[in-house]
C-alpha cells in the first residue's frame, strides 16, 4: 500500500505527465478552451490510462519477455490501446449513457494521446511490477486531469485580459503551460517515501 501511494503521488505531482514530460500535449492544448470539456477529457484519460497500463504490463511480462519479442512492443501496445479504447467506448455506451454523453468524442481521441502510450513505455523502461503499474496509470492520469483543468480555468479567465494580438490563444497557452511547469517544479522537493512511512505506521 505504501509503495502504491508512493508511486501515485510521484506520478501525479512530481513527475507530472504533461508538465514534466510534455506527454499528451496536442489534446492538452486543443481541448483546454473551456473547463467542462477539459474535465471530460481528463476523466477519460484517467479511465483509459488506468485500464491499459495493467493490460500492457501483462502482455509485456507474459508474452513479449518470455518469447523475446521486444521489438513488437510498439505495435502490440498501440493495438491494445486502440482496441481497449474501442471496447471501453462500447461498454460505456451500453451501461452508462450518461458517462458516455459526458465523455463524448474524447474517448476515440485518446488513442493518439501520447500520455497513454508514453505511460506504457515508461512502465517498461522503469521496470514496474503489476501494482506499481496500476498506481502509475491512475496517478499519471490524475496528474494529467489536474493539469488540464488548471489550464482550462486559467484560459477561461485570460480571455478577458488585454493580451497582445499575436499571442492570443495558442501563444498564451504555451506560455501558461511553461509557467505551470515551473510551478510544478517546486513540488520536486516532496519526498514520496514520507507517505509510505505514514501508511506503514498506521498499519502497525
Amino acid at each position: 500500500m505504501g509503495e502504491f501511494l508512493n508511486i501515485f503521488i510521484k506520478s501525479a505531482f512530481i513527475e507530472n505527465m504533461v508538465l514534466a514530460y510534455f506527454l499528451g500535449m496536442c489534446s492538452f492544448l486543443a481541448v483546454s478552451k473551456t473547463l467542462s470539456t477539459a474535465t471530460g477529457l481528463g476523466l477519460a484519460v484517467i479511465f483509459v490510462l488506468g485500464i491499459t497500463m495493467p493490460i500492457n504490463w501483462v502482455i509485456n511480462e507474459y508474452i513479449l519477455m518470455p518469447a523475446e519479442l521486444e521489438f513488437l512492443r510498439f505495435i502490440l501496445f498501440i493495438a491494445v490501446i486502440a482496441s481497449t479504447v474501442q471496447l471501453v467506448e462500447m461498454v460505456v455506451e451500453k451501461f452508462s449513457p450518461g458517462l458516455y454523453a459526458a465523455l463524448g468524442i474524447f474517448l476515440p481521441l485518446i488513442t493518439v494521446n501520447c500520455a497513454i502510450l508514453g505511460g506504457s513505455l515508461f512502465m517498461v523502461s522503469r521496470e514496474y511490477n503489476l501494482t506499481e503499474s496500476i498506481a502509475f496509470g491512475l496517478g499519471g492520469g490524475f496528474g494529467w486531469f489536474l493539469a488540464i483543468i488548471a489550464l482550462a480555468a486559467i484560459r477561461e479567465r485570460i480571455r478577458y485580459s488585454n493580451v497582445p494580438p499575436a499571442l492570443r490563444g495558442l501563444g498564451m497557452a504555451f506560455l501558461i503551460t511553461g509557467l505551470m511547469g515551473i510551478a510544478f517544479l517546486s513540488l520536486t522537493g516532496i519526498d514520496p517515501a514520507v507517505f509510505a512511512g505514514w501508511t506503514e505506521a498506521a498499519a502497525e
Binding site: F22, M25, K33, A82, P165, A166, G171
Partner: protein, 253 residues
C-alpha cells in the same frame, strides 16, 4: 484547425480537364513542400505533434536525430497509406494507419539502437512516441487517404521537415543559452561560450585574462533553458514573432 488548413493545401484534381499531363515536380508539388515549413507549420499553426518531442530539445543533436526520424516516418507512412488508400476499409482505417506507423517506428528504433546508441539512450521513450505523434496520423487522415502516392510522400516530407525545423531551432536556442555549446555529443560538437578549463576549451572563454573573452566575463549560462518548460517559452516566442509578421494567422477568439 487541421481541417480548415487542409482545404488550403489539399490538392483536388479538377474533374473538367483530367487529360492534361501533370509535371512530376511542378508548382503544386513545391507548395506541398514549402507550405508546412512556415505558413502552415505543424507545430506553430496546426498545433499537431507538440507532444512527444519537446522534452528532447534541450540539446541540438538529439533534436536533429528526432527530426530525421520523424521525417522518415511521416514520408513513408504517407506513401504506404496512399498506396493502400483504396483497399483500406473505412471502419478499421485508424488501426491500419497505426500499424503502418508502428512498423516504421519500430524500424527507426532498431536502426537507431544499432547506429547511434548514446542518442538512442537519450531519446528513450520519445522515439516510440512518434507513433502517437499527432502530425503523422493527422496528415494520413487529412491528406494521404485522398491523394496520390507521390504527392502524399511530398506532403509527408514537408510536414516532417516543418516539424523538424521548429525542433532544431528550439534546440539551438536552448543549448546555446543553456549550456553554451552546440551539437554536443555529435562528431561536430562546438563549445561556443563559457569558462574554459583543462577538459573543455570554449571559443569565447569567459574566464580569460585577455582577448575577446574579457568582454564577456559577466556571462553565465541561463539554467532556465535547460528545464523542459523553457521549450514552451521558446515556442511561444516563435509563435509571437510569426503572428506579428503574418497577422492573418492571429486567433480571432
Amino acid at each position: 484547425m487541421a481541417e480548415s488548413t487542409e482545404l488550403k493545401t489539399g490538392v483536388v484534381a479538377d474533374p473538367k480537364k483530367p487529360a492534361e499531363k501533370e509535371p512530376i515536380f511542378g508548382k503544386k508539388e513545391r507548395i506541398l513542400l514549402r507550405d508546412p515549413l512556415l505558413d502552415n507549420n505543424p507545430i506553430t499553426i496546426q498545433v499537431l505533434g507538440v507532444c512527444s518531442a519537446l522534452a528532447v530539445t534541450s540539446l541540438v543533436y538529439p533534436s536533429l536525430v528526432m527530426a530525421v526520424a520523424v521525417i522518415f516516418v511521416t514520408a513513408f507512412s504517407s506513401l504506404f497509406t496512399s498506396l493502400m488508400r483504396n483497399i483500406i476499409p473505412k471502419p478499421v482505417r485508424l488501426i491500419v494507419q497505426l500499424v503502418i506507423i508502428a512498423t516504421l517506428v519500430t524500424l527507426v528504433n532498431e536502426a537507431l539502437k544499432v547506429l547511434a546508441f548514446p542518442v538512442y539512450k537519450q531519446l528513450s521513450v520519445y522515439i516510440g512516441l512518434i507513433i502517437t505523434n499527432c502530425i503523422v496520423m493527422g496528415r494520413l487522415e487529412a491528406f494521404s487517404m485522398a491523394n496520390k502516392p507521390w504527392r502524399s510522400f511530398l506532403d509527408g516530407v514537408g510536414n516532417g521537415a516543418g516539424y523538424g525545423l521548429i525542433l532544431v531551432l528550439v534546440g539551438i536556442v536552448r543549448e546555446l543559452f543553456g549550456k553554451g555549446s552546440l551539437f554536443a555529443g555529435s562528431p561536430i560538437a562546438m563549445n561556443i561560450i563559457g569558462p574554459s578549463n583543462d577538459t573543455t576549451q570554449y571559443w569565447i572563454n569567459t574566464a580569460a585574462d585577455s582577448g575577446i573573452g574579457t568582454y564577456f566575463s559577466w556571462y553565465a549560462n541561463n539554467n532556465l533553458m535547460v528545464l523542459p518548460a523553457a521549450a514552451m517559452f521558446v515556442i511561444a516566442v516563435f509563435i509571437w514573432i510569426q503572428r506579428s509578421y503574418n497577422t492573418k494567422l492571429v486567433d480571432a477568439s
